[in-house]
Symmetry: C2
Subunit: 161 residues, 2 copies
């Protein structure tokens, strides 16, 4: 099952390196990682998506907790979080294919943000499953390249994550 870890850290050089080093030393591979400032400029939040069949979540959480500059770790409850990611896709869209690509973009509530005579670049936002589905439908047209942010998430409800 996929887990989303939300890790609040001090915004200092070296934190990312220590966290990444912990994964590497133990041979844990992650699905995605996003790190960016938070509502408090002195702190950053790392959002780590990982698969618990390849990743011993509990052990990692305990070890992360011991690292310097790591303030708080939450293994977010999938039933009780909002999780989103963003993908940019550059895809071939010549002739009649263009109309079909535009249709998919509309169905998925995505947006075209760059156009050339042969290609379009699409911004798509949503839950991971939805984006995977969109990617699969777009791929046959000729996916030139794709970049994803990785997932970010907050707990549902009024309380801080």
């Amino acid at each position: 099952m996929r887990h989303v870890l939300s890790v609040l850290v001090d915004n200092k050089p070296g934190v990312l390196s220590r966290v990444a080093g912990l994964f590497t030393r133990r041979g844990f591979n992650i699905d995605s990682l996003a790190v960016s400032p938070t509502e408090d400029v002195d702190r950053s939040r790392m959002t780590i998506a990982c698969d618990d069949t390849k990743f011993p979540i509990e052990q990692v959480t305990k070890q992360l907790d011991k690292l310097i500059n790591v303030i708080k770790i939450r293994d977010l409850d999938p039933q009780n979080m909002v999780a989103r990611e963003l993908t940019l896709l550059k895809v071939r869209a010549e002739g009649s294919a263009r109309g079909e690509v535009i249709q998919l973009v509309e169905i998925f509530g995505a947006r075209i943000i760059d156009v050339t005579p042969d290609t379009v670049t699409i911004q798509a936002t949503g839950e991971s499953d939805m984006l995977a589905n969109f990617e699969e439908l777009i791929r046959p047209y000729g996916l030139i390249e794709l970049v994803k942010t990785g997932v970010v998430a907050l707990g549902r409800g009024a309380d801080p994550t």
Copy 2:
């Protein structure tokens, strides 16, 4: 000035650690980092946003290029890229404040993805400046928490980045 580095790497444990280690050893701090799989499952793309007043871009690019499993580095031309990021914001929205928050959400083309009696959680997508502006306008209502993906970008035009 902000730079966006797009770094194509092999999807192997240890790559993130080596890249992060390079920054740490030299005391370089980055603004954001997003790492996620690409159109090719064997490769990941890291998108690194950094400020060239605090970060010697050219030197870093050369050193990144020497790392194992780093395939390609592009310092994207700001005039010739599409760059987007995604932010989730949980904000107080009681009584009359709620209507005002909803108005801002509509103006910025954002979306409300969770609601409680006292709060709303908003998903906002766009260019970094636009999101910073949105965050500034939302903050006075009572920003409970915020998580950002960090920027991702592709070069404009038909060619791969």
